[in-house]
């Protein structure tokens, strides 16, 4: 009566990761405003109402969300109300996205200038230990280890101008993981 939504059988479940969490999502059914999905084995039913401006109202489990989405090169951006999510496909090609493994590199989160490199090859670093300080957007940002690791290779030196995504430090895989963290002092 009010028009029929696009029925689109997804051949295979979609596997996405956000931060360190993996999810498996399957759209089971879509007709009219009705939608059913399975997330990590849990079935959900709701309604999806597309709006003219490429957003939609998604109602699941009695809650109502305004959602928008866009695809990017290596991720899917989604807005749920004012919240935004950046999902990466699992096994989606990026070196970082090894299933169940955190990244084995310290990567520049944005273009900037390397101010200090605080570790040397072969160093054993502990969780939270500062490794590189970069200056970007007029702030000093400290990149630290998320868990204990061994420095495999140092790929940057003070004064380097680095681009977004540049590998600054390689860590021994399997036993380590890294994360970006801002300077606690600067908070």
């Amino acid at each position: 009566m009010e028009g029929v939504g696009r029925l689109r059988a997804l051949e295979a479940p979609v596997k996405l990761k956000s931060g360190s969490r993996d999810f498996e999502i399957e759209i089971l059914f879509r007709e009219g405003f009705e939608i059913r999905a399975r997330i990590d084995g849990r079935e959900l039913a709701g309604t999806l109402r597309e709006l003219g401006d490429a957003s939609a109202i998604l109602e699941i489990e009695g809650r109502r969300f305004r959602v928008m989405g866009a695809r990017r090169k290596q991720s899917i951006l989604v807005a749920v109300g004012p919240r935004t999510f950046d999902f990466a496909p699992v096994d989606g090609g990026a070196r970082r996205a090894r299933r169940g493994l955190a990244a084995a590199e310290i990567i520049a989160p944005m273009p900037g200038k390397v101010l200090k490199v605080l570790v040397n090859e072969g160093d054993v670093v502990s969780a939270g230990q500062a490794m590189v300080i970069i200056e970007a957007m007029k702030m000093e940002t400290t990149l630290s280890a998320e868990s204990p690791a061994v420095v495999k290779r140092v790929c940057a030196k003070p004064g380097d101008t680095v681009d977004h995504g540049a590998v600054l430090i390689e860590l021994s895989p399997a036993v380590v993981s890294s994360a970006l963290q801002s300077d606690p002092e600067a908070r």
């Binding site: 696009r6 689109r8 997804l10 295979a12 979609v14 596997k15 996405l16 999810f23 999502i25 759209i27 879509r30 999905a37 997330i39 959900l44 709701g46 999806l48 401006d53 490429a54 957003s55 939609a56 998604l58 699941i60 489990e61 809650r63 305004r66 959602v67 928008m68 989405g69 866009a70 695809r71 990017r72 090169k73 899917i76 951006l77 989604v78 807005a79 749920v80 109300g81 004012p82 919240r83 935004t84 999510f85 999902f87 496909p89 699992v90 989160p109 944005m110 273009p111 900037g112 957007m137 000093e140 940002t141 977004h164 970006l180 963290q181 801002s182 606690p184 002092e185 600067a186 908070r187």
Partner: protein, 503 residues
């Protein structure tokens, strides 16, 4: 008092504030000139102005901090006056001086006044002389003397860049062990950011509020104040939520602060718009600094007083006398939407705005330079927009802010809208339990787990992956981009993203 005629205004800034100044200037019948860096050629302020001039490369030092280039642009375009906005050159006395020497009107205080107030040490001296209370501290802090002061007054102490502002160049030092290193780092950062490595230290107040007074001064020596703003909610010593009036502030304390700001402005011989910032502990207040320019958060004052502060600035700059302000009405709140990841220590973010949903409705104002396709680059401050709500009381202003933040969505640039939504909706904010520690006390573990929200995001992501929802990059757009990488049309930007393939 010389009346000067202003016909063409050059705005020496970018982003939302440049656009906001251009709007007022246009409504006053002025011709407007924008300046822009290579990174901003397609920006909203460039589009809004009657004329626009490229002033240099993307790094601010080559463009928005390039005094010669800006003065040359003003000469070329026949500008009579330059409005510096906030940030960049707005508090650089040498800029004000260069503008005056070029025979143009600088929209702001005189260079010598700015120099005196811009240096935190001489400003502090001025405040003491004007009978305005200050926080115990030490000027021109060499590492040894600073550590001695800290040992005497007790840690933590606050290290500040003498030339800093807006929270930049500030560090809290918690213990004697890190004191020397922190002072050196602060000095290095100050030198890099402001070209001046001098720092000074102060006793660090445990749970102070940050309250500031808006004032205007004209060439005849009139000083008027326009109420106060509570700017206690900060992260990294930078304001993210401001409101007016300051809740739970006694009328006695308010009156005393307004009077102190007036004395200070008068003692400085201040002309144009300025703000006196105070740290407040109960009803006691201590002078912090004067911001000798328009503040980011000026709209909340405009909304309460029904005025236009940029118009006031331009009138004062023309030599007009200040008219007494209207009585204030209701309550106004501002949230700064920044390109930052609030779940990761407010890490700065960049990106292209793929889609934008802007809030509106009664009592809602959103000052932004963003549109679909706008690019947020790493070169400048990450302020994406300022959401301002008015209410006949704080309850209404707050409820409208929550509703407006719920309407807002900026897809493509990680931002603080959802975080601020939770801040404003929190019980602590509702009770106005404000201090500069608010965020670290209340929101250090944001966001809390919300399963339904995550599930909605996952369903939306999976629909987006299959092309059933949202913006779709198309092959046509991709071809266009491949042929011509320099263009910034969003269609091309979208095309620049490869079609993401489901596994």
């Amino acid at each position: 008092m010389a009346r000067r005629k202003l016909k063409v205004l050059l705005v020496a800034n970018r982003g939302e504030i440049a656009l906001r100044i251009i709007r007022t200037a246009r409504a006053m019948g002025l011709r407007t000139v924008a300046v822009f860096s290579e990174a901003d050629a397609h920006s909203a302020h460039v589009a809004a102005a009657d004329d626009a001039r490229l002033i240099g490369g993307a790094p601010a030092a080559e463009s928005y901090l390039n005094i010669d280039s800006i003065i040359a642009a003003a000469r070329e375009t026949g500008a009579d006056a330059i409005h510096p906005g906030y940030g960049f050159l707005s508090e650089r006395p040498e800029f004000a001086r260069a503008v005056e020497q070029a025979g143009l009107i600088f929209v702001g205080p005189r260079a010598d006044v700015m120099a005196q107030l811009g240096d935190k040490i001489s400003a502090r001296k001025l405040a003491i002389a004007a009978g305005v209370p200050v926080v115990p501290g030490l000027e021109a802090a060499a590492p040894d003397a600073a550590c001695e002061f800290a040992a005497r007054e007790g840690f933590p102490i606050l290290v500040k860049a003498a030339a800093g502002g807006g929270g930049r160049g500030m560090r809290v030092v918690e213990s004697a062990e890190v004191c020397v290193a922190a002072l050196e780092a602060a000095s290095r950062e100050a030198l890099s950011a402001f070209g001046d490595g001098r720092v000074f230290i102060e006793k660090y107040l445990a749970r102070p509020r940050h309250i500031e007074v808006q004032f205007l001064g004209d060439e005849k020596g009139n000083i008027v104040t326009m109420g106060e703003r509570d700017c206690s909610i900060q992260r990294r010593h930078q304001k993210i939520v401001e409101e007016s009036p300051a809740p739970h502030l006694s009328n006695t304390a308010r009156d005393a602060m307004l009077a102190a700001a007036t004395r200070l402005a008068r003692a400085a011989g201040y002309t144009n718009a300025g703000t006196a910032e105070f740290l407040v502990d109960g009803d006691r207040f201590y002078f912090l600094e004067v911001n000798a320019r328009l503040q980011v958060e000026h709209p909340i004052t405009e909304i309460r007083f029904g005025c236009d502060l940029v118009e006031e600035q331009l009138k004062i700059a023309c030599g007009e006398e200040i008219a007494p302000p209207s009585a204030p009405r209701g309550c106004a709140i501002e949230c700064r939407i920044n390109a930052e990841d609030a779940s990761a220590g407010f890490r700065p973010a960049i990106g292209i705005v793929l889609d934008l949903r802007v809030p509106a409705g009664p009592g809602v104002r959103f000052d932004t330079h963003l549109a679909r396709g706008s690019e947020v680059t790493p070169f400048y401050d990450g302020l994406l927009g300022k959401l301002i709500t008015y209410g006949s009381d704080r309850k209404q202003a707050r409820a409208r802010m929550v509703a407006a933040l719920d309407e807002l969505a900026i897809l493509g640039v990680t931002n603080t809208a959802a975080f601020l939504r939770d801040v404003i909706a929190s019980e602590a904010f509702g009770a106005a339990d404000l201090s500069t520690r608010f965020i670290e006390e209340q929101f250090s573990h944001w966001p809390s787990e919300d399963q339904a929200l995550t599930e909605a995001a996952l369903i939306a992501a999976s629909l987006t992956a299959s092309g059933a929802l949202g913006i779709r990059p198309t092959e046509a757009a991709a071809q266009l981009t491949a042929a011509d990488g320099a263009d910034r049309s969003p269609w091309k930007a979208l095309g620049g993203f490869e079609l993401w393939k489901r596994q």
